[in-house]
Symmetry: D2
Amino acid sequence: MPIPAPNLYPSFNVVRLSHVELVVTDLARSRAFYADTLGLQITHADEDTIHLRAMEERGHHCLVLRKGTEAKVEVLSMKVYSEEDLDKAKDWFEAKGLAARWVERPFQGRTLRTQDIFGTPLEFYFKMDRLAPIHQKYALYHGVKPLRIDHFNCFTKDVDASVAFYNEMGFRVTEYTEDEESKRLWAAWMHRKGGVHDIAFTNGRGPRLHHTAFWVPTPLNIIDLLDLMSTTGYLANIERGPGRHGISNAFFLYVLDPDGHRIEIYCSDYQTVDPDLEPIKWDLKDPQRQTLWGAPAPRSWFEHGSLFNGAEVCEPILKAQPIIAP
Amino acid sequence: MPIPAPNLYPSFNVVRLSHVELVVTDLARSRAFYADTLGLQITHADEDTIHLRAMEERGHHCLVLRKGTEAKVEVLSMKVYSEEDLDKAKDWFEAKGLAARWVERPFQGRTLRTQDIFGTPLEFYFKMDRLAPIHQKYALYHGVKPLRIDHFNCFTKDVDASVAFYNEMGFRVTEYTEDEESKRLWAAWMHRKGGVHDIAFTNGRGPRLHHTAFWVPTPLNIIDLLDLMSTTGYLANIERGPGRHGISNAFFLYVLDPDGHRIEIYCSDYQTVDPDLEPIKWDLKDPQRQTLWGAPAPRSWFEHGSLFNGAEVCEPILKAQPIIAP
Amino acid sequence: MPIPAPNLYPSFNVVRLSHVELVVTDLARSRAFYADTLGLQITHADEDTIHLRAMEERGHHCLVLRKGTEAKVEVLSMKVYSEEDLDKAKDWFEAKGLAARWVERPFQGRTLRTQDIFGTPLEFYFKMDRLAPIHQKYALYHGVKPLRIDHFNCFTKDVDASVAFYNEMGFRVTEYTEDEESKRLWAAWMHRKGGVHDIAFTNGRGPRLHHTAFWVPTPLNIIDLLDLMSTTGYLANIERGPGRHGISNAFFLYVLDPDGHRIEIYCSDYQTVDPDLEPIKWDLKDPQRQTLWGAPAPRSWFEHGSLFNGAEVCEPILKAQPIIAP
Amino acid sequence: MPIPAPNLYPSFNVVRLSHVELVVTDLARSRAFYADTLGLQITHADEDTIHLRAMEERGHHCLVLRKGTEAKVEVLSMKVYSEEDLDKAKDWFEAKGLAARWVERPFQGRTLRTQDIFGTPLEFYFKMDRLAPIHQKYALYHGVKPLRIDHFNCFTKDVDASVAFYNEMGFRVTEYTEDEESKRLWAAWMHRKGGVHDIAFTNGRGPRLHHTAFWVPTPLNIIDLLDLMSTTGYLANIERGPGRHGISNAFFLYVLDPDGHRIEIYCSDYQTVDPDLEPIKWDLKDPQRQTLWGAPAPRSWFEHGSLFNGAEVCEPILKAQPIIAP
């Protein structure tokens, strides 16, 4: 199937991905990882949850850690343009036969809870508590100096179907790979906010969250994080990198949090605001799409992901794992 | 006057600033500066004009150099979302009593020529020749490794009036300074594409173009350019920097092209896609708004600008130059 | 006078500059500056003194802060190769008619106290307490991430005489400027350890200490320090930079400690171990020798220095200050 | 065996490693690699040889490429302090029963040809043609911007014996690993010039050259080289990295030249001029000694090396390859 034509006038206006809520089994241990090591700033903490933001964000949170007995992903959250867009979103999901209801979320205005066609839990809101800028409070910068949340990457059993669904919501494909035989999509990167992606989909047992990414200023911040993690007890949490992806051209590092949730540290992708931006197609057999410089990814990177709360995991349509052998 | 509420539903949709056409007096000399030294890529050259793009751009040009007898700025150009937006733009300008007409521009589709309230020549188009990506052709990178055009900065005699006009077009204010006594705006930064600005206005004899900015990957590329320019005959073309602006938080360098057109090399501003992003107000007496680190700008930086073709320059409403003395 | 031929077989073997002892008027304030802001590591602190080292140093201290009523420099200290070299040094100074005596210094072995021909207080030692490496304790790195002390820079009334004296001790000239008329040296950079300098001399009221320099990994660490100091109450302590010196090719920043002692943060000079390395001569009228990129230094940088304990300050032989006008 | 006490007063004074002469099978192909891609500067080229230097070097060459039918290493070359040291070196080698003779080398003064105990061909000279500085000719910088040759790394069948031999020549051990059972050295890093090493030895079939290293300004230059090589036909020449070694703390990249000679690009080691610097011992079982961040090296890195002209390769004393499995 060819990638769908971009939907330039979607039914409601998603501004960008906003935040993820992760269920973690030891709040103190997760705090040490996200706040003390990565350098995210705590904006609220109580017995059960910690809210954090990155250095240039003015919304109250880009990450919510919630204490639970089992590690999983509670929800992926998106910000819409206006309150009106929220109501339109509810109509749109219900017209698709997907349940949607209003929920209360602290530090946010009216919030819509729903899910995508494969059960990925999604929330939409238009208003979040706004905080004073801290991007020039340089004494607060530490760890990898995370500037903002950048994107989600999800396993899905049917990339074509996921792309069609999010495309209808106005997400535009920037890069993709296709299975040459079946002509089905293997993976696709889709954006709303003007970077390479707000969300990406990869063929695999899904729905599962492959990773959440944070944007940092330069590759040197990533080198600093590697030095820090490898000498403070987090050596085993370094999974892959540093390297440059062929797809997106990003300089990357993948680390695992204490519960195994994967975090990408990421910089240097490109601007995609032009509505007529042509998606870049990569050959599934081209090893440089994964790593421009040729170093293979470990097997865990292809297989491991976080479960979504309440979503049933299914086997993918495309079976052959195109793992590029080390 | 307070800054105007953002116009979230403008009459037509401007995607981003697109390119500038500069009239230069010696095409070979300008080519040596922009292509050989800064590192922009030539996409077309004939006897009278050179078109260039930056490394991550797929549109045909972000800079047009045109040979002329006198250095000036021919036009600032913007990209709109769709062909329909072009027609709406024409109606909007004409309803304001501002002449607007269709013009032919090579490598572009239908183009609208008009001007703002003070005579700044503007063009709008929706379609430009799209070129193959070169952002991973690393052998082509040189000079300062410019990635994309970032913004225009203009002197205007009345910042409040300019801001009101562009605000009505949907440009949103991200940061500003105000004259405490008169409560008039001294300067304002306005965006469409999700960075700190596509265009900024500063009180001064106007309309004149203060500078055009290009975005680069890291501060080290700016240091490389300083080393290169200072040892290849361009020492006198280095005007100000490197430094960090308080406003926008950008790491900057200002250089002058062989005709005195000012170019800013710029990196590390922040994402502004939230429609409810609160503008940051700076005190006109705070020297850190100009340079976070305190080094003063030279007098030329406050006074010199490029003339726009056909626009009459007027004295500003606010007289006192708040030059921060060296 | 031509610069003297290098003395390749000096009477005693100086390995490198080692440390400086600064008298400061408020120990807590100086600790906040050197430890909390610059990032030096405290190795000992009592009521009257603080000893600090940089991240890759294994000797106990590269900086000693001593509480006093008046800011001054107590002594410049050098490490010699062996205990035998200490005895030879004593003989050499005494043969010059310069008093030399053994003194007790904590954390050091036998230490020789003496002075140069103009009264600059000097100490030599061969053994200092050695500490465990911390260069891979990345959790300790902060501030500008100082790696090691790099050099001293001194005003002297007679650069030719100072150079002749230190040349006899085996210091080799790497770069210099000469007054074209009198053919006297204006400034000279001299090394023992294989970089551009361990000590430099500049014509001026002297002896006074112009600055002490610390070596950092990359220019980005200097940018980080500028961001930190300018937003934590140290804006007025930023004196000059960032920039690149023509002489030494170093990327530099000059800051003033709370007592006005000048500190240079410095990286990227070059290796000078070849005994036949040719000194580079700079034209006193070439503004790029001071700043390759052309930005002028503030007047304070040419005039201000720290007094040495017990040394009488004299007017320089060369009178005209070759300040490069802003 | 414990590592030997440093010989602080060797019979002759080696200043530093100087250059390597590589036999290559296609001079044009090697030129494209070393000059056009890595960025070394050609100082002489004729039909059979190319001489190159790095950006901050003033000696005529740090690398000589010689055309031959079979790839190999002709010789490792060292610079001594004075002509007198050359004569002392000849005596010293001959006293060891190692043949030593004067040879003619273009662009160098009197040169001594000899070998170490295992047949590694060595040359010593005191004077080489000195060239004008180019470290501030920034228009010449390209590729990885190599600043200087840094070190050699050799396989040897008996690290203890090699270390004892070079220690007697005055090379000092900075870091080492030991086989816990036999208490024999597994690898050792030795310096003369004040960095972590001029030459290193690793247990293995030897003598063979593992790699020659060049020093670059920052990790970002190494990232630039990776981007360049991976998009200009040199993807298969990237062998290992980027990463940080535990040993030496260096940020590294290993690439293979068109004949398979391994080159390390290297930055950020530390200063070692103190004669009492304590060697750092690493546990052979500690995977962080090889890669602080944990990523394994490919098998080729442990096994492949270049042959020395005329040296017979022998099996190592320590058999078990402590390859850290991927």
